[in-house]
């Protein structure tokens, strides 16, 4: 048996070794696949903050993922066509600089999360699941019918956006850019968890009354967690759009929100590396099972079922065999 810490290290080393090997062996597609896993992991790390630590199951995180995607798509589209985004009251031009796009994705996703969170966090349990889903569905239908930016066809951005000093078209360079952001978000989340804020949030999930008794405003704690969570997922959306050089309403779909949850459960709820392990395993399964037969979804379903039935706290829990640190 391995300790959770060792599993985390192993996961990290996989995220470094596999792409390096792929680079040496000239297997660029493996790098693309790992980039996909890293971005999904980033999105799920965001979700895990409110879901795992905060105890609120958001079934609508695709709203932020898609928003990040559209921020990238719209800015890059305007830059590509040399048409300003806004001429009045002030001139706003499009851009294809990644840092600017990231920053805007984070800010706008945080704002959206503030609105959605302010409304949704008044409910809990299944009601919370459904109201977050409702918001994501609104975004979905809105984007489908918003013909200025492609409607359901989405938008193609022919070239990946730029990052100072890097050639982002080179798969390995773009991959490590994504990996750095994933690591940064892991660091952020882990220090948040250890901070007084994180401890209070964790305590609020287990016993709201006690936290309230100490005089903390639970609602504000949770709202803050939700905003950070949405912002991280929004950033992941911007990266995902850049990976595919394409955005479409599909990035708002409820299936995607569901997949984020699935990543977390596969890996282990509330564990720092749960979403990372889950995303890696899921992307791997999708890739390898897809070749087996036309009906490969059946195999995927069976494997997911086995994971739920036989591991109470995700794959990490199954391997670490010492139970989750939260139940």
């Amino acid at each position: 048996m391995m300790s959770e810490r060792n599993i985390n290290l192993l996961t990290l080393s996989l995220f470094v070794m596999i792409p390096v090997w792929a680079y040496m062996a000239d297997e660029p597609f493996t790098i693309t696949l790992m980039t996909r896993a890293a971005i999904f992991a980033l999105a799920a790390v965001g979700l895990n903050l409110i879901l795992g630590i905060g105890g609120f199951v958001s079934f609508g995180h695709a709203a932020f993922f898609g928003l990040g995607g559209y921020v990238m798509g719209i800015l890059a589209w305007h830059a590509q066509n040399y048409s300003p985004l806004l001429e009045w009251p002030l001139l706003i031009e499009g851009t294809n600089s990644m840092p600017v796009i990231w920053l805007l994705s984070i800010i706008l996703s945080a704002l959206l999360a503030l609105v959605i969170g302010a409304v949704s966090l008044k409910t809990s349990g299944v009601y919370f699941i459904m109201i977050t889903l409702a918001f994501a569905q609104m975004m979905y239908y809105f984007s489908v019918s918003w013909s200025a930016y492609g409607g359901e066809d989405g938008m193609s951005i022919y070239v990946r956006n730029e990052f100072p000093g890097l050639n982002t078209l080179d798969p390995i360079q773009f991959y490590f850019l994504c990996l750095m952001l994933l690591l940064a978000s892991l660091w952020l989340v882990s220090s948040l968890i250890k901070s007084p804020f994180g401890l209070a949030l964790n305590a609020a999930r287990q016993s709201p009354q006690r936290v309230q008794a100490v005089g903390l405003d639970i609602h504000r704690l949770q709202l803050f967690a939700f905003v950070v969570s949405g912002a991280i997922t929004g950033l992941a959306g911007a990266l995902f759009a850049d990976l595919n050089r394409f955005v479409s309403p599909n990035m708002f779909s409820w299936q995607l929100s569901g997949e984020f949850i699935v990543f977390i459960i596969i890996g282990g709820v509330g564990r720092l590396f749960g979403p990372v392990v889950g995303a890696l395993v899921f992307v791997g399964l999708e890739h390898f099972l897809g070749g087996i037969s036309d009906f490969w979804h059946i195999y995927l379903g069976v494997i997911l079922l086995l994971i739920v039935l036989f591991s109470k706290s995700g794959l990490i829990g199954l391997i670490a065999k010492k139970g989750g640190h939260h139940d």
Partner: protein, 380 residues
């Protein structure tokens, strides 16, 4: 914009040229929908395509097939896989416009050929056209334009039109109106994926129209037709082939009987290629071919004709070979317009019952040797 595009295309091409295919064989990547609700279309395209490859007897054409699950991001991932790891020369297979929009621009920018066996979004025909993109099916508007022309010829004066609220739906209504000169009694955009049309049918009933045109692909069309036939509204319907094709028709059943729909192909088109295709498809797979199967079959034959003429690594020669469209199409006369979309006749056909099976009979030519509206926008 153009200069920026050219520069970037240059960069991408340079990045990928280093891994051009090594052997003289040609490798084809097919990305199509093989699972979930829309799988029937992808399976037909695949089967038609592979039938042509098999009949050609060529062993130097390798086809890799992958399932896109009808998700744009999966299609992009598969295109990356095909290009980066399988190192294909030609891509094909995508059914849906939104998936094509996700894959085609970047694939052609990377120097790959793309042969579309089904989707033909207007962007790829106009401003976003590309010399390596060939559409072997139709430009999205075509079938609807023919429906407009047919409705006009049939003497309809006041038509009610409806389509889902998404780009292909808007293209459909625009296409129809382009060739229909009568009055529009009402125009509705329905929700994408909607399955209940009672509200729309009530509006049709109240609109005082003399005919109905609808574009509702897949299950949406089945639902609409069944509900329409039970509603007591008996205005004649005109629609594109998609809701009346071989695969879907059996599920619509009697409700479709007698409906006129427009298509560039039908199994009774009188040419030897088509007769042989229908016969061999039935023998091979035990079912009648659909529109999509014919498109897959034609796409493969176009490819085979080009392979016979030129080496795929000689890009210019191969492109010219594709452009000449020197193959026997199941549709009879076939050539490419300046923006690499078909110039072909589009027929009006009527749904009939042959024994126990619902199928179509060609009744007239709706548009003869029809090209597309976007050639002027394409600077190639």
């Amino acid at each position: 914009m153009k200069s920026l595009l050219n520069v970037s295309v240059g960069i991408i091409t340079a990045a990928f040229l280093t891994m051009g295919s090594a052997s003289a064989d040609i490798k084809v990547g097919m990305i199509t929908t093989l699972s979930g609700g829309g799988a029937g279309l992808g399976i037909d395209v695949r089967d038609g395509f592979m039938l042509a490859i098999k009949q050609s007897g060529r062993s130097d054409i390798n086809v890799v097939i992958e399932d896109d699950q009808r998700k744009p991001d999966v299609a992009v991932k598969l295109a990356d896989k095909m290009i980066q790891s399988e190192k294909v020369d030609v891509l094909t297979g995508i059914i849906w416009s939104n998936l094509a929009m996700a894959v085609v621009p970047s694939a052609t920018a990377q120097g790959k050929f793309y042969l579309s066996p089904n989707a033909g979004p207007s962007v790829l025909a106009g401003k976003g056209c590309h010399e390596n993109y060939f559409n072997v099916a139709w430009q999205n508007d075509n079938i609807h334009e023919a429906a407009g022309a047919y409705a006009d010829g049939a003497g309809y004066k006041k038509t009610f039109i409806l389509a889902p609220n998404y780009p292909a739906g808007k293209d459909a209504l625009v296409g129809f109106k382009r060739y229909f000169k009568g009055q529009i009694a009402g125009e509705i955009y329905t929700k994408l994926g909607q399955t209940d049309y009672a509200a729309e049918i009530a509006q049709i009933r109240a609109a005082g129209a003399d005919s109905v045109f609808f574009f509702l692909p897949g299950g949406m069309g089945i639902a609409f037709l069944k509900q329409y036939s039970g509603s007591g509204v008996d205005l004649p319907i005109v629609g594109p082939a998609f809701s009346f094709d071989q695969g879907i028709l059996q599920a619509v059943g009697e409700a479709a009987l007698g409906v006129v729909n427009t298509s560039q192909w039908n199994k009774d088109l009188d040419n030897p290629t088509n007769a042989a295709f229908v016969k061999s498809f039935k023998a091979e797979y035990g079912r009648l071919p659909s529109l999509y199967a014919s498109q897959g079959f034609d796409t493969a034959n176009l490819l085979i004709s080009a392979v016979a003429k030129a080496d795929v690594n000689n890009t210019d020669a191969f492109r010219a070979a594709l452009k000449s469209a020197d193959f026997d199409s199941t549709r009879g006369d076939f050539s490419f317009s300046s923006n690499h979309h078909p110039i072909q006749s589009i027929y009006a056909r009527e749904v009939i019952k042959e024994g126990d099976i619902y199928t179509n009979k060609t009744i007239s030519v709706a548009l003869e040797n029809h090209s597309n509206f976007y050639t002027q926008d394409c600077k190639m």
